[in-house]
């Protein structure tokens, strides 16, 4: 994407006034999306985005400048602007750039950009037909297909030269079901770091079926009971909770700002001893995976909790240098328009020894959550809240009536310490994680697990 001599020239300009390092990030992204809504292929879009960002680090501070022009003049202008934030040091060194080999690759078998757009339009039509075939209750269907190929180049003053091509693909379906005055929604959207073969493995009709059945099932829902109860989380859902409530406070920028409930507590038991959790960018072809992070650090697996004991933080380059440790490869950014910050990749709770049947049958009374709607957490206090998109009552060891309007509310350490059973039916859910105005693709995984006590907010008795 860029000539090495020009990259070196830009890095030298960026280090004109010193700083601890300079880095150039160049990105090009070509994407196609097809949106079906209201029975019509409403919009077909193609987009080309590209740009470059130059960063100069000094301590935990940085200067960052970007442009969506890639010519020499624009890049040198960005380098000067980024350098201006550093004090008046002398010029810093730029080591000869050399290519780093990826520790893991996530190849696309079938390039999605080679698939005719007409075929992609058929995929969303198949999803629409399947969802509507499931019952007269389905009133509305939205199916969105998207693929993109992101080409990334990272060059830095320590000599790293990293190039990566990241193909991403997703087909998601939202269904609206109605009966009389009751309206409910269902969503499902598998996604991968892969090519068009991903759609073959995750057929649009199956995605539509999951979304539509979810919406229809919830039409019979009664208001969720409010109060403390046991909650069983279906595969993947424990990962969503782990990501929000535990993962964010383990990001090193939040720890560094003393805004993490886990700060200073590595080595302590802060979760039930059956909880082990990791962040892992090497999971093959997973939505949150890559070969290198957006600072050119190799993808890796980082242990966060081991048998309930807190083991470590998620580092980007700035925070790792401050703490004198290697980056964990968690420096990510939404695009060239954003400086990298510590972010999760695929974050998950490892499998345990129970079975899902044992867990449900061993629960006298509780709520079984099959889909969370997303959540919010305050990393400083560990307080979190999650909406439930699909949930059922558990009565005398059996899943019974669907419940609506439920949310889970609690504090990270207490809730993780209350996990009393984990199965081995592991699943990973793709999502977009937002932080500081930047969205990045992440995976959240877990087997079926149970929290012995947690507050459920709801309108029922």
């Amino acid at each position: 994407m860029l000539d090495r001599d020009l990259a070196e020239e830009v890095l030298r300009a960026a280090r004109a006034r010193g700083g601890s390092f300079a880095e150039l990030y160049v990105e090009e992204r070509l994407g196609t999306s097809v949106r079906l809504d209201d029975g019509k292929v409403e919009e077909v879009t193609t987009g080309l985005d590209r740009g470059a960002g130059v960063r100069v680090g000094h301590g935990t501070s940085f200067g960052y400048a970007y442009s969506n022009r890639l010519d020499r003049e624009a890049l040198l202008h960005a380098a000067e602007a980024a350098a201006a934030s550093v004090g008046d040091g002398g010029p810093g060194e730029v080591v000869d750039l050399r290519t780093l080999e990826p520790p893991v690759t996530h190849p696309a078998l079938m390039d999605a950009s080679e698939v005719p757009t007409e075929r992609k339009a058929d995929w969303v039509r198949e999803a629409d037909e399947m969802a509507r075939a499931l019952g007269p209750e389905i009133r509305q269907v939205t199916a969105v297909y998207g693929d993109s190929v992101q080409r990334v180049l990272v060059a830095a003053s320590d000599g790293r030269w990293v190039e990566e091509v990241r193909p991403r693909i997703r087909l998601s379906v939202s269904a609206v079901a109605g009966r009389d005055d009751t309206i409910q929604t269902g969503f499902h959207g598998p996604a991968g770091l892969a090519g068009a073969e991903f759609i073959e493995a995750n057929p649009p009709a199956r995605t539509a079926e999951v979304a539509a059945r979810r919406a229809i099932a919830m039409l019979d829902a009664v208001p969720a009971p409010a109060g403390e109860t046991a909650v069983v989380l279906a595969p993947g859902m424990g990962g969503v909770l782990f990501h929000e409530a535990v993962g964010h406070p383990l990001e090193a920028d939040i720890v560094d700002k003393e805004a993490s409930v886990y700060r200073g507590r590595i080595g302590e038991r802060l979760a039930s001893e059956i909880v082990s959790g990791v962040d892992d960018a090497t999971v093959p072809n997973a939505w949150g995976s890559f070969s290198f992070d957006d600072e050119g650090a190799p993808a890796r697996r980082t242990v966060l909790f081991e048998d309930g004991v807190l083991r470590g933080w998620l580092y980007d380059r700035l925070r790792a240098e401050k703490d004198g440790v290697p980056s964990t490869g968690n420096g990510r950014r939404q695009s060239y328009a954003h400086p990298p910050i510590p972010r999760m990749t695929n974050t998950y709770i490892l499998s345990g020894s129970s079975t899902p049947e044992e867990i449900v049958s061993g629960t006298e009374r509780g709520v079984f959550v099959t889909a969370l709607a997303g959540g919010q957490t305050n990393p400083a206090t560990g307080d979190f809240v999650f909406g439930c998109a699909e949930a059922y009552l558990i009565e005398r060891g059996e899943t019974t009536t669907p419940v609506r309007g439920a949310n889970l509310i609690g504090r990270a350490i207490e809730v993780m310490s209350s996990v009393d059973a984990i199965a081995s039916d592991f699943d990973i859910w793709p999502g977009m994680c937002g932080k500081d105005g930047q969205g990045v693709p992440v995976g959240s995984g877990s087997p079926t697990l149970r929290i012995s006590r947690i507050t459920v907010g709801g309108t029922g008795a």
Binding site: D37, D38, G39, K40, V41, E42, E43, V44, T45, T46, G47, L48, D49, R50, G51, T60, S61, G63, Y64, A65, Y66, S67, N68, A78, A81, A82, T117, K120, Q140, V176, I183, P223, A224, A226, G227, E228, I254, K257, E258, A259, V261, A373, G374, Q376, N378, A380, T381, D383, F384, V385, F386, G387, G405, N407, I409, G410, T455, G457, G458, T459
Partner: protein, 444 residues
């Protein structure tokens, strides 16, 4: 670099036959300064521009966009939009709007802000960080202190004769403080936005962020009770965002709005008037024309609780046999949807002190979490987490946390009892304090 309007015209010139072609171009330069522990932690400069091309042929819509394109790349984008249109389902309501006279809107652009240097911006962030960590002994740290600004321009041209452009400026400050006492940590958020840097209230944002963190120290989880709820503007703004989803004609036509069949009905308490005004300079969403070149205007969506109608772009207006309200909302990367410009609740007549007296025995809710995951904009049901303070003796008392409020949007709209007199803007949403009748706050 080619002029924005010239880039748009380059797209229009290559339209073929009966095709309708529209190009929308934007450019923006932004600066952001983050301060932490007395130093500049991050300094970010950005320059970006792009063009989005919409093409309609035989009722089929295609779209393509490109970042910082040359004239040739804009023409390529037209070709790609044409290929994309060929795949789409024909829809007789797809059409570009005819050109209408656009009244200029003065005051969107501040030359002072556009010519400010970084050296003048850095002290704003540093000063706020220093003030935030030195005014209260319990607040010595910050989670985020940021100053940001943007100088931008937009242009649009179409085969239907639309030719328009404007430029604008904006600046904002965000402060998130950490209060600590006896092992307890609380955070306090505050935010201000303005068009001109001299209108930005740095002192106010700091005082508020410090106060909001410090007063939550020692918060406990209350027993479940049914009490009056006073939403402060921060909390109220979250709910207005959810409400706005249901006020778009797009949501109504696609049966995704709970307000669809309710035009002319009393959907809310008669103290509630909700307005969208794309020409109101106080709000950051002001512009002379919308994302399709249609002049912006004022739409009273709820008048004293009665639902008047919905927000429209050209597509929904044609489909609903009405006129666009100038609410086509977009960036260059997407074709126009329907959205709000500046959406606000018309303030009432109560001072904050009066509201506290009327909410005696209740709770001031200062933050709600999980509104977007916990509220279903279609069914109107929601269940959200809340933190706040008890109200007693006409003042604020014990802080409370880990509460949930569960209700429905229609019930909540009907329960609005009184409104504060001060309107606060959060991005393009404006709200006063809102006193609700009794609601169930679930705790232990």
């Amino acid at each position: 670099m080619p002029d924005l309007l010239d880039l748009c015209l380059a797209a229009v010139e290559v339209a073929e036959g009966d095709e309708q072609v529209e190009a929308f171009a934007e450019e923006r330069s932004t600066t952001s300064v983050e301060a932490h522990r007395g130093e500049v932690e991050g300094l970010t400069f950005a320059e970006s521009r792009g063009v989005g091309v919409r093409l309609i042929s035989d009722g089929r819509l295609g779209f393509a966009h490109a970042a910082d394109p040359s004239v040739d790349e804009v023409r390529d984008a037209v070709a790609r939009a044409r290929e994309n249109a060929a795949v789409a389902t024909p829809d007789p309501f797809n059409a570009l709007p005819a050109a209408e006279p656009i009244e200029p809107l003065d005051g969107l652009f501040s030359q002072e802000l556009a010519s400010m240097t970084t050296d003048e911006k850095v002290p704003i962030a540093l000063g706020m960080e220093r003030a935030a960590t030195t005014t209260d002994a319990r607040v010595r740290k910050t989670e985020a202190v940021r100053y940001g600004d943007a100088v931008g321009a937009a242009a649009i041209a179409s085969t239907e004769g639309v030719r328009a452009e404007y430029r604008g400026t904006g600046c904002w400050v965000v402060v998130v403080t950490l209060a600590e006492q006896e092992g307890d940590t609380q955070t306090g958020f505050s935010y201000r936005i303005a068009r001109r840097v001299e209108d930005l209230d740095h002192d106010g944002v700091v005082v508020e962020a410090v106060e909001r963190a410090a007063r939550m120290l020692g918060a406990t989880k209350p027993a479940t009770a049914r009490v009056p709820v006073l939403l402060d503007p921060v909390a109220a703004s979250s709910f207005l965002g959810v409400l706005s989803d249901g006020l778009s004609a797009e949501a109504v036509q696609k049966q995704r709005s709970l307000f669809g069949p309710l035009v002319g009905e009393q959907v809310a308490s008669d103290v509630l008037t909700v307005v969208d005004d794309g020409r109101l300079l106080d709000g950051p969403g002001a512009a002379p024309f919308d994302g399709e070149g249609v002049p912006t205007g004022r739409t009273e969506l709820l008048s004293s609780g009665v639902l008047n109608g919905f927000l429209h772009n050209t597509y929904t207006a044609r489909r609903g046999d009405t006129r666009s309200t100038g609410n086509a909302v977009r960036g260059y990367r997407s074709s126009p949807g329907v959205g709000t410009t500046n959406l606000f609740v018309r303030p009432g007549d109560r001072s904050f002190e009066q509201l506290l007296r009327e909410a005696e025995g209740g709770v001031l809710v200062q933050d709600v979490t999980g509104v977007h995951s916990g509220a279903n904009p279609i069914s109107g049901e929601f269940s959200v987490g809340a933190t706040g303070l008890r109200i007693s003796g006409g003042g604020l008392g014990q802080p409370v946390r880990e509460m949930t409020i569960a209700s429905t949007i229609p019930e909540m709209l009907q329960s609005v009892a009184a409104l504060g007199s001060e309107l606060r803007w959060f991005s393009a949403v404006g709200v006063p304090s809102i006193l609700l009748g009794e609601m169930t706050l679930a705790g232990v």
